[in-house]
């Protein structure tokens, strides 16, 4: 059975190691924070100028001067640091953030990502996504495997690109894929989802080797 958004976030949380500095994009990636085990010490970076995002505030603690990159009100943890946008992206561009998790419309087998623009739809802008994907040491994409039956795991992206040759891993509603020099390597499948279903849902080259384990969601 395909994962829901929270389960995708739950699976991605397993990719985070103790001591990691992590940037979480808007949408599913933001949910990842809810599933980081309490014994894993992670510091979340917000590209609008914060290292050390805390939980959402209580109603009384809402502060308009304290938001995340999705413009949501937040809090900060002990040991946090604030800085301006140029220093925030110096940090990102310099490769100091260990892991970036973001959403995507499409990913290609070369690791290209399209995530910011759909021709014919309202122009929104790339925000910090191009900076993040061009610089993070490790990039994991959270996305739906298909859209209305059409694969979004492609040989070539069809939408305007956010970055090239950058995605390392993809967690979709039905599979975990690694981007390799030879194509998408299938690592795990969602509970109850068959390898065949994943093959059928993947347009890009898919490498299936040996037994493919089911994801563990814990």
């Amino acid at each position: 059975m395909a994962l829901d958004k929270n389960q995708i976030a739950q699976r991605i949380a397993q990719e985070i190691n103790d001591g990691n500095y992590v940037n979480l994009g808007i949408g599913i990636p933001t949910l990842v924070a809810n599933y980081i085990p309490s014994n894993v010490n992670v510091i979340l970076q917000s590209e609008n100028g914060l290292l050390g995002i805390g939980p959402f505030p209580t109603d009384e603690n809402v502060d308009a001067d304290l938001i995340n990159a999705g413009k949501q009100t937040i809090t900060y943890v002990k040991g946090a640091a604030f800085f301006d946008s140029s220093r925030s992206f110096a940090m990102i561009r310099g490769g100091h953030v260990d892991l970036t998790i973001l959403g995507a419309f499409e990913v290609s087998e070369k690791g290209d990502i399209a995530s910011w623009k759909v021709p014919g739809k309202m122009v929104k802008g790339m925000g910090g996504a191009m900076d993040l994907v061009s610089s993070a040491k490790n990039i994991i994409v959270a996305m739906q495997h298909t859209n209305k039956g059409q694969s979004k795991i492609l040989k070539e992206c069809t939408l305007p690109l956010t970055g090239v040759n950058c995605v390392k891993k993809i967690v979709t509603d039905i599979a975990v894929l690694e981007v390799t020099a030879n194509g998408f390597k299938l690592l795990e499948r969602a509970p109850g989802v068959s390898v065949e279903e994943i093959i059928n849902s993947t347009e890009g080259k898919l490498i299936v080797e040996g037994e493919i384990p089911e994801m563990k969601l814990y």
Binding site: E47, L66, F89, G128, P160
Partner: protein, 231 residues
């Protein structure tokens, strides 16, 4: 050296048609509300605004858009504004989208006397169109150029009469970097204190960058996504 101006109208004096302005803030967080409101009450038109976002329909830079005072936006994300899209599609408004970090760095470069620099962001995307591409250490980079403005308008938490500024939390965002890149930088602050009252080790914007400063009034500090903890 008297940088303290009486009010917002004295602060924005000299801003004229077709000038380039930098306006601080991220979304509606940390925007110079007083200065934007005052500008919206003038007849100034044809502005190029460098600002990460374009406000919402009835607040922030949206006020200037509604009045058709802006002819060009240089931003990274403009998705919250319906009037913006209408003007863009109708050709009334020109927009140049930059990756957010590239935008911030172009502004820093403008303030820091660096005319051009190389970044990886945007390589292989439409952002690269027309730009010089060069490989360093096996990785492709784009040459980006500095941005400056006739006026930079920033909002700080605390300021002193020398023009030193301290920002609060994530209301810093583009304010600190923009303060360095205006030919004239206007700072509106929530609290204005005599020189000597701010900790000199904790100044975000040294006063050299600020030509005019005033205490702003009636900050609304509108929140775009009021998100609270679910118990």
């Amino acid at each position: 050296m008297n940088k303290v101006v009486k009010n917002v109208y004295e602060a924005i004096d000299g801003i004229a048609n077709n000038m380039t302005l930098m306006v601080g803030g991220f979304g509606l967080c940390g925007i110079p509300e007083n200065s934007i409101l005052a500008l919206s009450k003038t007849e100034i038109k044809g502005l190029t605004c460098i600002s990460n976002n374009a406000g919402v329909d009835d607040f922030g830079l949206g006020l200037l858009l509604k009045n058709k005072q802006i002819s060009k936006m240089i931003s990274s994300y403009v998705g919250e504004n319906v009037e913006f899209e209408r003007q863009l599609l109708s050709g009334e408004l020109e927009v140049e989208l930059n990756p957010q970090g590239t935008l911030a760095e172009r502004i820093r470069a403008g303030g820091a006397g660096i005319p051009a620099f190389f970044v990886p962001a945007g390589y292989g995307t439409e952002v690269a169109e027309g730009k010089e591409v060069r490989e360093f250490d096996g990785k492709m980079h784009l040459m980006e150029t500095a941005l400056k403005a006739d006026f930079a308008i920033v909002k700080a938490w605390k300021g002193d009469t020398n023009g030193n500024l301290i920002y609060k939390y994530t209301a810093n965002n583009f304010n600190e970097v923009m303060a360095t890149a205006g030919k004239i930088t206007i700072a509106e602050v929530e609290e204005l204190v005599p020189a000597g009252e701010l900790d000199p080790n904790c100044i975000h914007t040294p006063g050299i960058y600020v030509q005019r400063i005033f205490k702003g009034e009636n900050y609304e500090k509108r929140i775009e996504q009021r998100t609270i903890k679910t118990q």
